[in-house]
Amino acid sequence: MYVTDEGEELFVIDSHLHLWDASEENVTHEGGEQFIQCFYDYHTGFTPEDKQWSLEEYRKYGADRMAQDLFGNAAVDMGIFQPTYLRDFYADGFNTIEDNAELAERYPERFVLNGRFDPRDGEEGMRELERQKEEYDIQGVKLYTAEWNGDSKGWRLDSEEAFEFLDKCAELGIENIHPHKGPTIRPLNRDAFDVADVDDAATSFPELNFVVEHVGLPRLDDFCWIAAQEPNVYGGLAVAAPLAVHRPRKFGEIMGELLFWLGEDRLLFGSDYALWNPDWLVETFMDAELTDEQKDEYGVEFGVDTKRKILGENAAELYDIDIEAKKEEFRSDTLTQEFGLADHYAGGTSATPADD
Protein backbone atom coordinates (compact mmCIF):
# COMPACT_ATOMS: atom_id res chain seq x y z
CA MET A 1 0.00 0.00 0.00
CA TYR A 2 1.02 3.52 -0.53
CA VAL A 3 0.67 5.66 2.57
CA THR A 4 0.54 9.43 2.20
CA ASP A 5 2.22 11.79 4.64
CA GLU A 6 -1.22 12.30 6.15
CA GLY A 7 -1.50 8.56 6.80
CA GLU A 8 -4.02 7.82 4.06
CA GLU A 9 -3.65 4.34 2.62
CA LEU A 10 -3.94 3.60 -1.08
CA PHE A 11 -4.27 -0.04 -2.06
CA VAL A 12 -2.21 -0.64 -5.21
CA ILE A 13 -3.29 -3.08 -7.90
CA ASP A 14 -0.71 -3.06 -10.66
CA SER A 15 -2.87 -3.91 -13.64
CA HIS A 16 -0.15 -4.63 -16.17
CA LEU A 17 2.55 -7.19 -15.34
CA HIS A 18 4.68 -9.65 -17.27
CA LEU A 19 7.05 -12.43 -16.37
CA TRP A 20 8.96 -12.59 -19.62
CA ASP A 21 11.83 -14.51 -21.16
CA ALA A 22 13.82 -12.70 -23.82
CA SER A 23 17.03 -14.61 -23.17
CA GLU A 24 19.12 -15.09 -26.28
CA GLU A 25 18.36 -18.83 -26.22
CA ASN A 26 14.65 -18.10 -26.51
CA VAL A 27 14.88 -15.65 -29.42
CA THR A 28 14.19 -17.31 -32.77
CA HIS A 29 13.58 -14.31 -35.02
CA GLU A 30 15.27 -10.96 -35.52
CA GLY A 31 11.95 -9.37 -34.55
CA GLY A 32 12.24 -10.90 -31.09
CA GLU A 33 15.67 -9.40 -30.58
CA GLN A 34 14.52 -6.00 -31.78
CA PHE A 35 11.46 -6.25 -29.58
CA ILE A 36 13.44 -6.61 -26.36
CA GLN A 37 15.93 -3.97 -27.50
CA CYS A 38 13.09 -1.55 -28.08
CA PHE A 39 11.68 -2.37 -24.62
CA TYR A 40 15.08 -1.73 -23.14
CA ASP A 41 15.18 1.71 -24.75
CA TYR A 42 11.79 2.42 -23.21
CA HIS A 43 13.21 1.24 -19.90
CA THR A 44 16.32 3.41 -19.93
CA GLY A 45 14.51 6.30 -21.61
CA PHE A 46 12.10 6.72 -18.70
CA THR A 47 13.74 5.11 -15.66
CA PRO A 48 15.67 7.33 -13.23
CA GLU A 49 19.34 6.55 -13.79
CA ASP A 50 20.00 4.94 -10.42
CA LYS A 51 17.07 2.55 -10.90
CA GLN A 52 18.02 1.17 -14.29
CA TRP A 53 18.63 -2.50 -14.93
CA SER A 54 21.33 -4.02 -17.10
CA LEU A 55 20.21 -5.50 -20.40
CA GLU A 56 21.15 -8.99 -19.22
CA GLU A 57 18.99 -8.74 -16.09
CA TYR A 58 16.24 -7.35 -18.24
CA ARG A 59 16.17 -10.25 -20.67
CA LYS A 60 15.16 -12.78 -18.03
CA TYR A 61 14.66 -11.92 -14.40
CA GLY A 62 12.59 -14.83 -13.09
CA ALA A 63 9.86 -15.22 -10.49
CA ASP A 64 11.90 -14.54 -7.34
CA ARG A 65 13.17 -11.22 -8.49
CA MET A 66 9.73 -10.22 -9.68
CA ALA A 67 8.17 -11.00 -6.28
CA GLN A 68 10.88 -8.95 -4.63
CA ASP A 69 10.42 -6.00 -6.99
CA LEU A 70 6.65 -5.92 -6.65
CA PHE A 71 6.16 -6.70 -3.00
CA GLY A 72 9.54 -6.68 -1.28
CA ASN A 73 9.37 -2.95 -0.84
CA ALA A 74 5.58 -3.00 -0.41
CA ALA A 75 4.80 -0.80 -3.40
CA VAL A 76 2.25 -3.23 -4.82
CA ASP A 77 -0.52 -5.15 -3.06
CA MET A 78 -1.85 -7.12 -6.00
CA GLY A 79 -1.05 -7.54 -9.66
CA ILE A 80 -2.70 -8.52 -12.91
CA PHE A 81 -0.68 -10.56 -15.39
CA GLN A 82 -1.09 -9.75 -19.07
CA PRO A 83 0.43 -12.39 -21.34
CA THR A 84 2.19 -11.58 -24.62
CA TYR A 85 2.92 -14.71 -26.60
CA LEU A 86 4.85 -13.64 -29.73
CA ARG A 87 5.50 -17.25 -30.62
CA ASP A 88 6.74 -16.29 -34.07
CA PHE A 89 9.64 -14.49 -32.37
CA TYR A 90 10.34 -16.57 -29.23
CA ALA A 91 10.69 -20.37 -29.08
CA ASP A 92 8.73 -20.74 -25.84
CA GLY A 93 6.80 -17.50 -26.22
CA PHE A 94 7.77 -14.16 -24.66
CA ASN A 95 5.38 -14.10 -21.71
CA THR A 96 2.82 -16.90 -21.65
CA ILE A 97 0.06 -17.70 -19.21
CA GLU A 98 2.16 -20.67 -18.04
CA ASP A 99 5.15 -18.38 -17.40
CA ASN A 100 2.98 -16.03 -15.38
CA ALA A 101 1.32 -18.89 -13.53
CA GLU A 102 4.67 -19.77 -12.02
CA LEU A 103 4.33 -16.78 -9.73
CA ALA A 104 0.55 -16.58 -9.59
CA GLU A 105 0.33 -20.12 -8.27
CA ARG A 106 2.86 -19.39 -5.59
CA TYR A 107 0.85 -16.40 -4.32
CA PRO A 108 -2.68 -16.95 -5.66
CA GLU A 109 -4.23 -14.36 -3.35
CA ARG A 110 -1.94 -11.68 -4.78
CA PHE A 111 -2.37 -12.16 -8.50
CA VAL A 112 -4.98 -12.14 -11.20
CA LEU A 113 -3.96 -14.29 -14.13
CA ASN A 114 -5.26 -13.18 -17.50
CA GLY A 115 -5.26 -15.33 -20.61
CA ARG A 116 -5.33 -14.51 -24.29
CA PHE A 117 -6.79 -15.59 -27.60
CA ASP A 118 -6.01 -15.16 -31.25
CA PRO A 119 -9.05 -15.43 -33.54
CA ARG A 120 -6.81 -16.75 -36.32
CA ASP A 121 -6.30 -19.95 -34.32
CA GLY A 122 -9.89 -20.95 -35.06
CA GLU A 123 -11.34 -24.01 -33.32
CA GLU A 124 -8.07 -24.88 -31.67
CA GLY A 125 -7.85 -21.36 -30.26
CA MET A 126 -11.38 -21.66 -28.96
CA ARG A 127 -10.47 -24.86 -27.12
CA GLU A 128 -7.34 -23.20 -25.75
CA LEU A 129 -9.45 -20.33 -24.39
CA GLU A 130 -11.72 -22.84 -22.68
CA ARG A 131 -8.69 -24.59 -21.23
CA GLN A 132 -7.38 -21.30 -19.82
CA LYS A 133 -10.73 -20.64 -18.20
CA GLU A 134 -10.91 -24.12 -16.78
CA GLU A 135 -7.34 -24.36 -15.61
CA TYR A 136 -6.74 -20.81 -14.40
CA ASP A 137 -10.25 -19.38 -14.03
CA ILE A 138 -9.26 -16.35 -16.07
CA GLN A 139 -11.43 -13.22 -15.84
CA GLY A 140 -9.67 -11.33 -18.55
CA VAL A 141 -7.65 -11.63 -21.75
CA LYS A 142 -4.81 -9.58 -23.17
CA LEU A 143 -5.09 -9.22 -26.92
CA TYR A 144 -2.34 -8.37 -29.31
CA THR A 145 -3.96 -7.37 -32.57
CA ALA A 146 -0.61 -6.79 -34.29
CA GLU A 147 0.83 -10.17 -33.43
CA TRP A 148 2.21 -12.20 -36.32
CA ASN A 149 0.65 -15.56 -37.00
CA GLY A 150 1.97 -17.45 -40.01
CA ASP A 151 1.32 -15.30 -43.07
CA SER A 152 -0.93 -12.90 -41.22
CA LYS A 153 0.57 -9.77 -39.68
CA GLY A 154 -2.41 -8.77 -37.59
CA TRP A 155 -6.16 -8.90 -36.99
CA ARG A 156 -9.04 -6.64 -35.97
CA LEU A 157 -11.22 -6.70 -32.90
CA ASP A 158 -14.31 -5.95 -34.99
CA SER A 159 -13.82 -8.87 -37.38
CA GLU A 160 -16.30 -11.71 -37.58
CA GLU A 161 -13.73 -14.16 -36.21
CA ALA A 162 -12.90 -11.91 -33.26
CA PHE A 163 -16.60 -11.53 -32.46
CA GLU A 164 -16.90 -15.31 -32.19
CA PHE A 165 -14.19 -15.27 -29.56
CA LEU A 166 -15.76 -12.32 -27.74
CA ASP A 167 -19.02 -14.27 -27.73
CA LYS A 168 -17.16 -17.13 -26.14
CA CYS A 169 -15.65 -14.77 -23.54
CA ALA A 170 -19.10 -13.50 -22.63
CA GLU A 171 -20.36 -17.07 -22.36
CA LEU A 172 -17.44 -18.14 -20.14
CA GLY A 173 -17.63 -15.04 -17.94
CA ILE A 174 -14.30 -13.62 -19.13
CA GLU A 175 -15.39 -10.02 -18.81
CA ASN A 176 -12.26 -7.95 -19.13
CA ILE A 177 -10.80 -7.55 -22.60
CA HIS A 178 -7.40 -5.80 -22.70
CA PRO A 179 -6.47 -4.93 -26.29
CA HIS A 180 -2.89 -3.69 -26.56
CA LYS A 181 -3.00 -0.42 -28.45
CA GLY A 182 0.44 1.04 -28.27
CA PRO A 183 3.10 2.45 -30.54
CA THR A 184 2.77 1.56 -34.20
CA ILE A 185 5.13 -1.22 -35.14
CA ARG A 186 3.87 -3.79 -37.61
CA PRO A 187 2.33 -4.80 -39.89
CA LEU A 188 4.11 -3.18 -42.71
CA ASN A 189 1.86 -0.73 -44.44
CA ARG A 190 -0.94 -0.31 -41.93
CA ASP A 191 -1.43 1.12 -38.50
CA ALA A 192 -1.37 -2.11 -36.54
CA PHE A 193 -2.75 -0.55 -33.40
CA ASP A 194 -5.54 1.53 -34.82
CA VAL A 195 -8.11 1.82 -32.00
CA ALA A 196 -11.16 2.22 -34.24
CA ASP A 197 -11.92 -1.51 -34.02
CA VAL A 198 -12.57 -1.15 -30.27
CA ASP A 199 -15.58 1.05 -30.99
CA ASP A 200 -17.72 -1.55 -32.73
CA ALA A 201 -16.63 -4.33 -30.37
CA ALA A 202 -17.53 -2.27 -27.30
CA THR A 203 -20.93 -1.36 -28.74
CA SER A 204 -21.63 -4.96 -29.69
CA PHE A 205 -20.60 -6.42 -26.33
CA PRO A 206 -21.95 -4.12 -23.63
CA GLU A 207 -21.53 -6.91 -21.06
CA LEU A 208 -17.74 -6.89 -21.56
CA ASN A 209 -15.24 -4.25 -20.42
CA PHE A 210 -12.60 -3.09 -22.88
CA VAL A 211 -9.44 -1.86 -21.20
CA VAL A 212 -7.39 -0.22 -23.93
CA GLU A 213 -3.80 -0.67 -22.85
CA HIS A 214 -1.37 2.24 -23.13
CA VAL A 215 -4.46 4.45 -23.55
CA GLY A 216 -3.95 4.09 -27.25
CA LEU A 217 -0.82 6.27 -27.25
CA PRO A 218 -0.12 7.47 -29.93
CA ARG A 219 -3.83 7.37 -30.73
CA LEU A 220 -4.97 9.05 -27.55
CA ASP A 221 -7.29 11.32 -29.52
CA ASP A 222 -9.20 8.49 -31.20
CA PHE A 223 -9.21 6.50 -27.98
CA CYS A 224 -10.67 9.30 -25.85
CA TRP A 225 -13.35 10.10 -28.38
CA ILE A 226 -14.43 6.44 -28.51
CA ALA A 227 -14.29 6.07 -24.74
CA ALA A 228 -16.34 9.23 -24.26
CA GLN A 229 -19.20 7.51 -26.06
CA GLU A 230 -18.76 3.91 -24.91
CA PRO A 231 -19.22 3.49 -21.15
CA ASN A 232 -17.57 0.05 -21.15
CA VAL A 233 -14.25 1.36 -22.50
CA TYR A 234 -11.43 1.91 -20.00
CA GLY A 235 -7.85 3.14 -20.24
CA GLY A 236 -4.77 1.28 -18.98
CA LEU A 237 -2.02 3.74 -18.07
CA ALA A 238 0.98 1.48 -18.72
CA VAL A 239 3.55 3.52 -20.71
CA ALA A 240 1.71 6.79 -20.06
CA ALA A 241 2.57 6.80 -16.36
CA PRO A 242 6.39 6.97 -16.72
CA LEU A 243 6.06 10.25 -18.63
CA ALA A 244 5.57 11.78 -15.19
CA VAL A 245 9.29 11.25 -14.49
CA HIS A 246 10.93 13.46 -17.07
CA ARG A 247 7.94 15.24 -18.58
CA PRO A 248 5.58 16.08 -15.74
CA ARG A 249 3.90 18.81 -17.75
CA LYS A 250 3.21 16.51 -20.68
CA PHE A 251 2.00 13.85 -18.25
CA GLY A 252 -0.35 16.43 -16.74
CA GLU A 253 -1.78 17.22 -20.17
CA ILE A 254 -2.40 13.55 -20.90
CA MET A 255 -3.99 12.96 -17.49
CA GLY A 256 -6.07 16.10 -18.01
CA GLU A 257 -7.42 14.77 -21.30
CA LEU A 258 -8.10 11.30 -19.87
CA LEU A 259 -9.91 12.67 -16.84
CA PHE A 260 -11.82 15.10 -19.02
CA TRP A 261 -13.05 12.51 -21.54
CA LEU A 262 -13.26 9.31 -19.45
CA GLY A 263 -13.46 10.51 -15.86
CA GLU A 264 -11.69 9.10 -12.83
CA ASP A 265 -13.59 5.79 -12.70
CA ARG A 266 -12.30 4.33 -15.94
CA LEU A 267 -8.51 4.56 -15.65
CA LEU A 268 -6.21 1.80 -14.38
CA PHE A 269 -2.64 2.16 -13.19
CA GLY A 270 -0.09 -0.30 -14.60
CA SER A 271 3.69 -0.39 -14.43
CA ASP A 272 4.12 -2.71 -17.41
CA TYR A 273 6.71 -4.51 -15.28
CA ALA A 274 9.50 -5.27 -16.14
CA LEU A 275 9.44 -2.32 -18.52
CA TRP A 276 9.40 -0.25 -15.35
CA ASN A 277 9.55 -0.98 -11.63
CA PRO A 278 6.40 -0.10 -9.73
CA ASP A 279 8.11 1.30 -6.63
CA TRP A 280 9.45 4.52 -8.08
CA LEU A 281 6.60 4.68 -10.57
CA VAL A 282 3.88 4.65 -7.88
CA GLU A 283 5.84 7.29 -6.00
CA THR A 284 6.14 9.46 -9.10
CA PHE A 285 2.47 9.02 -9.91
CA MET A 286 1.49 10.05 -6.39
CA ASP A 287 3.71 13.14 -6.57
CA ALA A 288 2.40 14.21 -9.98
CA GLU A 289 0.14 17.26 -10.11
CA LEU A 290 -1.64 19.27 -12.74
CA THR A 291 -0.45 22.83 -13.20
CA ASP A 292 -2.91 25.62 -12.42
CA GLU A 293 -3.23 26.26 -16.11
CA GLN A 294 -4.08 22.59 -16.73
CA LYS A 295 -6.63 22.60 -13.92
CA ASP A 296 -8.31 25.58 -15.59
CA GLU A 297 -8.17 24.03 -19.04
CA TYR A 298 -9.55 20.64 -18.08
CA GLY A 299 -11.61 21.42 -15.00
CA VAL A 300 -10.71 18.09 -13.37
CA GLU A 301 -9.22 16.93 -10.07
CA PHE A 302 -6.07 14.85 -9.80
CA GLY A 303 -5.84 14.60 -6.03
CA VAL A 304 -5.55 11.68 -3.60
CA ASP A 305 -9.13 10.51 -4.10
CA THR A 306 -8.72 10.32 -7.86
CA LYS A 307 -5.35 8.62 -7.50
CA ARG A 308 -6.79 6.05 -5.09
CA LYS A 309 -9.29 5.02 -7.74
CA ILE A 310 -6.72 4.84 -10.51
CA LEU A 311 -4.12 2.99 -8.42
CA GLY A 312 -6.44 0.26 -7.21
CA GLU A 313 -10.16 0.78 -6.78
CA ASN A 314 -11.06 0.82 -10.45
CA ALA A 315 -9.23 -2.45 -11.14
CA ALA A 316 -10.80 -3.94 -8.01
CA GLU A 317 -14.22 -3.07 -9.40
CA LEU A 318 -13.51 -4.79 -12.72
CA TYR A 319 -12.01 -7.89 -11.14
CA ASP A 320 -14.40 -8.20 -8.18
CA ILE A 321 -11.68 -7.66 -5.61
CA ASP A 322 -12.83 -6.73 -2.10
CA ILE A 323 -10.02 -4.42 -1.00
CA GLU A 324 -10.90 -4.42 2.70
CA ALA A 325 -11.10 -8.21 2.82
CA LYS A 326 -7.77 -8.42 1.00
CA LYS A 327 -6.10 -6.08 3.47
CA GLU A 328 -7.33 -8.32 6.24
CA GLU A 329 -6.06 -11.41 4.46
CA PHE A 330 -2.69 -9.83 3.70
CA ARG A 331 -1.89 -9.36 7.39
CA SER A 332 -0.80 -12.96 7.48
CA ASP A 333 -0.61 -14.49 4.02
CA THR A 334 2.47 -16.37 2.75
CA LEU A 335 3.86 -13.39 0.98
CA THR A 336 3.52 -11.09 3.98
CA GLN A 337 5.37 -13.64 6.08
CA GLU A 338 8.05 -14.10 3.46
CA PHE A 339 8.71 -10.38 3.04
CA GLY A 340 7.97 -9.34 6.64
CA LEU A 341 5.05 -7.09 5.72
CA ALA A 342 2.84 -7.70 8.78
CA ASP A 343 3.29 -4.14 10.04
CA HIS A 344 2.42 -2.82 6.63
CA TYR A 345 -1.07 -4.27 6.82
CA ALA A 346 -1.55 -3.79 10.56
CA GLY A 347 -2.98 -0.29 10.29
CA GLY A 348 -6.46 -0.13 8.84
CA THR A 349 -8.13 3.02 7.68
CA SER A 350 -7.91 4.79 11.03
CA ALA A 351 -4.15 4.33 11.26
CA THR A 352 -2.04 7.38 11.90
CA PRO A 353 1.46 7.64 10.52
CA ALA A 354 4.13 6.28 12.78
CA ASP A 355 5.58 9.09 14.85
CA ASP A 356 8.94 7.54 15.55
Binding site: P183, N189, R190, R219, D221, L243
Partner: protein
Amino acid sequence: MSSDRSRAEGPADGDDASAEAPGETTPAAVRERLDRVTDPELDTSIVELDYVEEIRITAAADGDGDAVFVAFTLPTAWCSPAFAWMMAGDARDEVASLPTVADVDVELREHMHEREINRGINEGLPFGEAFPDADGDVAPVRAELDRKARIARQHDATGALLDAGLTGDQIAALTPEDVRFDETTDGTVPVWVRDGAVAVAVAVDPLVRYREKAAATGLLDDDHDELFRTPEGDPIDPDDFEVVRQRTRLAGVNMGGQGTVCDALNDARHAEDRPPLSTFSD
Protein backbone atom coordinates in the same frame (compact mmCIF):
# COMPACT_ATOMS: atom_id res chain seq x y z
CA MET B 1 16.06 17.55 -23.55
CA SER B 2 17.93 17.21 -26.78
CA SER B 3 20.98 15.16 -25.92
CA ASP B 4 24.51 16.37 -26.27
CA ARG B 5 25.55 13.58 -28.59
CA SER B 6 27.57 14.78 -31.48
CA ARG B 7 26.18 14.31 -34.92
CA ALA B 8 28.48 14.04 -37.86
CA GLU B 9 27.58 16.42 -40.61
CA GLY B 10 29.24 16.09 -43.95
CA PRO B 11 30.83 16.35 -46.21
CA ALA B 12 33.35 14.16 -44.49
CA ASP B 13 36.39 15.75 -46.11
CA GLY B 14 35.37 19.32 -45.83
CA ASP B 15 36.41 20.85 -49.12
CA ASP B 16 33.05 20.85 -50.81
CA ALA B 17 31.26 22.12 -47.74
CA SER B 18 32.78 25.54 -47.75
CA ALA B 19 32.02 26.11 -51.38
CA GLU B 20 29.16 28.58 -51.54
CA ALA B 21 29.50 29.49 -55.17
CA PRO B 22 26.22 29.62 -57.08
CA GLY B 23 25.47 26.42 -58.88
CA GLU B 24 26.85 24.23 -56.15
CA THR B 25 25.02 22.29 -53.52
CA THR B 26 25.67 23.31 -49.92
CA PRO B 27 24.92 21.34 -46.75
CA ALA B 28 22.79 24.29 -45.61
CA ALA B 29 20.67 24.06 -48.75
CA VAL B 30 20.25 20.30 -48.31
CA ARG B 31 19.36 20.80 -44.68
CA GLU B 32 16.81 23.46 -45.58
CA ARG B 33 15.13 20.97 -47.93
CA LEU B 34 15.19 18.22 -45.31
CA ASP B 35 13.61 20.64 -42.86
CA ARG B 36 10.48 20.43 -45.02
CA VAL B 37 10.23 16.68 -44.39
CA THR B 38 8.12 15.84 -41.37
CA ASP B 39 7.82 12.81 -39.17
CA PRO B 40 4.23 12.23 -40.29
CA GLU B 41 3.08 11.01 -36.90
CA LEU B 42 4.46 14.00 -35.03
CA ASP B 43 3.97 16.64 -37.75
CA THR B 44 7.44 17.93 -36.91
CA SER B 45 10.50 18.39 -39.14
CA ILE B 46 13.02 15.52 -39.16
CA VAL B 47 15.76 18.14 -38.82
CA GLU B 48 14.18 19.58 -35.71
CA LEU B 49 13.73 16.08 -34.35
CA ASP B 50 17.44 15.44 -34.79
CA TYR B 51 16.98 12.36 -36.97
CA VAL B 52 19.42 13.46 -39.70
CA GLU B 53 22.87 12.07 -39.00
CA GLU B 54 24.92 12.76 -42.06
CA ILE B 55 24.87 14.85 -45.20
CA ARG B 56 27.61 14.28 -47.76
CA ILE B 57 27.99 16.08 -51.05
CA THR B 58 30.20 14.90 -53.90
CA ALA B 59 30.29 15.31 -57.66
CA ALA B 60 27.80 13.13 -59.46
CA ALA B 61 29.28 10.13 -61.23
CA ASP B 62 28.52 11.52 -64.69
CA GLY B 63 30.08 14.84 -63.72
CA ASP B 64 26.90 16.81 -64.30
CA GLY B 65 25.67 18.21 -60.96
CA ASP B 66 26.13 16.96 -57.41
CA ALA B 67 25.44 13.69 -55.67
CA VAL B 68 23.97 14.00 -52.18
CA PHE B 69 24.06 11.30 -49.55
CA VAL B 70 21.71 11.66 -46.58
CA ALA B 71 21.66 9.27 -43.60
CA PHE B 72 19.07 9.31 -40.84
CA THR B 73 18.11 7.23 -37.83
CA LEU B 74 14.69 7.03 -36.20
CA PRO B 75 14.07 6.83 -32.45
CA THR B 76 13.58 3.07 -32.57
CA ALA B 77 14.26 0.18 -34.91
CA TRP B 78 10.56 -0.61 -34.49
CA CYS B 79 9.33 2.66 -35.90
CA SER B 80 6.51 1.88 -38.33
CA PRO B 81 7.94 0.81 -41.71
CA ALA B 82 5.23 2.87 -43.38
CA PHE B 83 6.30 6.04 -41.53
CA ALA B 84 9.97 5.33 -42.20
CA TRP B 85 9.21 4.82 -45.89
CA MET B 86 7.40 8.16 -46.10
CA MET B 87 10.27 10.03 -44.45
CA ALA B 88 12.92 8.39 -46.64
CA GLY B 89 10.91 9.06 -49.81
CA ASP B 90 10.12 12.65 -48.87
CA ALA B 91 13.79 13.27 -48.03
CA ARG B 92 14.83 11.93 -51.43
CA ASP B 93 12.23 14.04 -53.27
CA GLU B 94 13.03 17.23 -51.36
CA VAL B 95 16.79 16.97 -51.91
CA ALA B 96 16.33 15.97 -55.55
CA SER B 97 14.34 19.17 -56.11
CA LEU B 98 17.49 21.27 -55.65
CA PRO B 99 18.46 22.34 -59.19
CA THR B 100 22.14 21.50 -58.69
CA VAL B 101 21.53 17.96 -57.49
CA ALA B 102 21.79 15.11 -59.98
CA ASP B 103 21.74 12.08 -57.66
CA VAL B 104 20.34 11.43 -54.19
CA ASP B 105 21.16 8.46 -52.02
CA VAL B 106 19.13 8.10 -48.81
CA GLU B 107 20.18 5.73 -46.08
CA LEU B 108 17.92 4.80 -43.17
CA ARG B 109 20.05 3.31 -40.42
CA GLU B 110 19.43 0.77 -37.68
CA HIS B 111 15.86 0.01 -38.64
CA MET B 112 14.32 -3.43 -38.72
CA HIS B 113 13.47 -2.89 -42.39
CA GLU B 114 16.38 -0.75 -43.47
CA ARG B 115 17.30 -3.10 -46.30
CA GLU B 116 13.87 -3.05 -47.93
CA ILE B 117 13.40 0.68 -47.39
CA ASN B 118 16.83 1.78 -48.64
CA ARG B 119 16.62 -0.40 -51.69
CA GLY B 120 13.02 0.56 -52.44
CA ILE B 121 13.53 4.30 -52.06
CA ASN B 122 16.82 4.49 -53.94
CA GLU B 123 15.55 2.34 -56.78
CA GLY B 124 12.27 4.24 -56.95
CA LEU B 125 10.10 1.19 -56.25
CA PRO B 126 6.52 1.39 -55.05
CA PHE B 127 6.01 0.32 -51.42
CA GLY B 128 4.23 -2.89 -52.39
CA GLU B 129 7.21 -4.00 -54.45
CA ALA B 130 9.73 -3.19 -51.73
CA PHE B 131 7.58 -5.11 -49.24
CA PRO B 132 6.03 -8.10 -51.00
CA ASP B 133 4.47 -9.10 -47.64
CA ALA B 134 2.51 -5.86 -47.35
CA ASP B 135 -1.15 -5.96 -48.27
CA GLY B 136 -1.45 -2.50 -49.71
CA ASP B 137 0.17 0.87 -50.21
CA VAL B 138 1.07 3.54 -47.65
CA ALA B 139 -1.32 6.14 -49.08
CA PRO B 140 -4.18 5.47 -46.60
CA VAL B 141 -1.79 5.75 -43.65
CA ARG B 142 -0.44 9.02 -44.96
CA ALA B 143 -3.95 10.35 -45.49
CA GLU B 144 -4.87 9.47 -41.91
CA LEU B 145 -1.75 11.16 -40.50
CA ASP B 146 -2.40 14.23 -42.64
CA ARG B 147 -5.93 14.32 -41.25
CA LYS B 148 -4.61 14.26 -37.70
CA ALA B 149 -2.04 16.94 -38.44
CA ARG B 150 -4.84 19.06 -39.91
CA ILE B 151 -6.89 18.69 -36.73
CA ALA B 152 -3.99 19.62 -34.45
CA ARG B 153 -3.14 22.62 -36.63
CA GLN B 154 -6.79 23.67 -36.60
CA HIS B 155 -6.55 23.97 -32.84
CA ASP B 156 -3.69 26.46 -33.13
CA ALA B 157 -5.45 28.37 -35.89
CA THR B 158 -8.80 28.66 -34.10
CA GLY B 159 -6.86 29.55 -30.93
CA ALA B 160 -5.28 32.48 -32.77
CA LEU B 161 -8.71 33.59 -33.99
CA LEU B 162 -10.19 33.38 -30.50
CA ASP B 163 -7.22 35.35 -29.17
CA ALA B 164 -7.96 38.01 -31.77
CA GLY B 165 -11.51 38.31 -30.43
CA LEU B 166 -13.57 36.24 -32.86
CA THR B 167 -16.45 34.20 -31.46
CA GLY B 168 -17.01 30.48 -32.00
CA ASP B 169 -19.96 31.25 -34.29
CA GLN B 170 -17.84 33.57 -36.41
CA ILE B 171 -15.02 31.02 -36.66
CA ALA B 172 -17.40 28.22 -37.65
CA ALA B 173 -18.75 30.41 -40.47
CA LEU B 174 -15.39 31.52 -41.93
CA THR B 175 -14.61 30.66 -45.55
CA PRO B 176 -11.13 30.63 -47.14
CA GLU B 177 -11.95 33.96 -48.86
CA ASP B 178 -12.45 35.68 -45.51
CA VAL B 179 -8.74 35.26 -44.69
CA ARG B 180 -6.78 37.68 -46.88
CA PHE B 181 -3.37 36.06 -47.07
CA ASP B 182 -2.38 38.44 -49.89
CA GLU B 183 -2.70 41.32 -47.40
CA THR B 184 -0.41 39.86 -44.73
CA THR B 185 1.68 42.45 -42.87
CA ASP B 186 3.82 42.32 -39.72
CA GLY B 187 2.97 38.71 -39.03
CA THR B 188 -0.77 39.28 -39.10
CA VAL B 189 -3.43 38.67 -41.68
CA PRO B 190 -6.80 40.47 -41.96
CA VAL B 191 -9.76 38.17 -41.35
CA TRP B 192 -13.16 39.52 -42.42
CA VAL B 193 -16.23 38.94 -40.24
CA ARG B 194 -19.81 40.24 -39.99
CA ASP B 195 -20.48 39.72 -43.69
CA GLY B 196 -17.34 41.53 -44.63
CA ALA B 197 -18.07 44.57 -42.49
CA VAL B 198 -15.06 44.29 -40.19
CA ALA B 199 -11.50 42.98 -40.59
CA VAL B 200 -9.61 41.66 -37.58
CA ALA B 201 -5.81 41.25 -37.54
CA VAL B 202 -4.86 37.67 -36.64
CA ALA B 203 -1.45 35.98 -36.23
CA VAL B 204 -0.74 34.58 -39.68
CA ASP B 205 1.57 31.61 -38.99
CA PRO B 206 -1.00 29.24 -37.44
CA LEU B 207 -3.40 30.05 -40.27
CA VAL B 208 -0.80 29.37 -42.95
CA ARG B 209 0.11 26.08 -41.33
CA TYR B 210 -3.53 25.11 -41.07
CA ARG B 211 -4.26 26.03 -44.66
CA GLU B 212 -1.43 23.80 -45.84
CA LYS B 213 -2.91 20.68 -44.19
CA ALA B 214 -6.48 21.67 -44.98
CA ALA B 215 -5.43 21.69 -48.65
CA ALA B 216 -3.54 18.40 -48.30
CA THR B 217 -6.64 16.74 -46.88
CA GLY B 218 -8.93 18.07 -49.59
CA LEU B 219 -10.93 20.43 -47.38
CA LEU B 220 -10.34 23.45 -49.57
CA ASP B 221 -11.74 21.96 -52.73
CA ASP B 222 -14.69 19.89 -51.59
CA ASP B 223 -18.38 20.84 -51.66
CA HIS B 224 -18.31 22.92 -48.49
CA ASP B 225 -17.20 26.53 -48.17
CA GLU B 226 -16.32 26.46 -44.49
CA LEU B 227 -12.63 26.89 -43.66
CA PHE B 228 -12.77 24.86 -40.42
CA ARG B 229 -14.36 21.46 -39.93
CA THR B 230 -15.05 18.76 -37.43
CA PRO B 231 -12.40 16.01 -37.20
CA GLU B 232 -14.55 14.06 -39.67
CA GLY B 233 -14.40 16.93 -42.16
CA ASP B 234 -17.96 18.22 -41.81
CA PRO B 235 -18.94 21.87 -41.28
CA ILE B 236 -19.11 22.82 -37.60
CA ASP B 237 -22.52 23.33 -36.05
CA PRO B 238 -21.99 26.51 -33.95
CA ASP B 239 -23.54 24.68 -30.96
CA ASP B 240 -20.75 22.12 -31.22
CA PHE B 241 -17.93 24.62 -31.59
CA GLU B 242 -16.67 24.02 -28.05
CA VAL B 243 -16.59 20.25 -28.29
CA VAL B 244 -14.85 20.40 -31.68
CA ARG B 245 -12.31 22.74 -30.13
CA GLN B 246 -11.75 20.23 -27.31
CA ARG B 247 -11.27 17.44 -29.81
CA THR B 248 -8.72 19.44 -31.77
CA ARG B 249 -6.88 20.13 -28.51
CA LEU B 250 -6.74 16.39 -27.92
CA ALA B 251 -5.11 15.79 -31.31
CA GLY B 252 -2.27 18.12 -30.38
CA VAL B 253 -1.84 16.58 -26.94
CA ASN B 254 -1.66 13.18 -28.58
CA MET B 255 1.09 14.29 -30.95
CA GLY B 256 2.98 15.98 -28.15
CA GLY B 257 2.69 12.87 -25.99
CA GLN B 258 3.97 10.63 -28.73
CA GLY B 259 6.73 13.15 -29.48
CA THR B 260 7.81 12.85 -25.87
CA VAL B 261 8.00 9.09 -26.10
CA CYS B 262 9.97 9.25 -29.36
CA ASP B 263 12.30 11.82 -27.88
CA ALA B 264 13.03 9.64 -24.85
CA LEU B 265 13.63 6.61 -27.08
CA ASN B 266 15.90 8.64 -29.32
CA ASP B 267 17.96 9.79 -26.34
CA ALA B 268 18.12 6.27 -24.89
CA ARG B 269 19.21 4.88 -28.21
CA HIS B 270 22.06 7.34 -28.58
CA ALA B 271 23.13 7.44 -24.93
CA GLU B 272 26.87 7.05 -24.54
CA ASP B 273 26.58 4.31 -21.94
CA ARG B 274 24.02 2.29 -23.83
CA PRO B 275 25.20 -1.32 -23.70
CA PRO B 276 26.04 -2.93 -27.02
CA LEU B 277 22.92 -4.73 -28.12
CA SER B 278 23.37 -8.20 -29.45
CA THR B 279 22.65 -8.86 -33.09
CA PHE B 280 20.38 -11.72 -33.83
CA SER B 281 21.79 -14.49 -35.95
CA ASP B 282 20.14 -17.72 -36.95
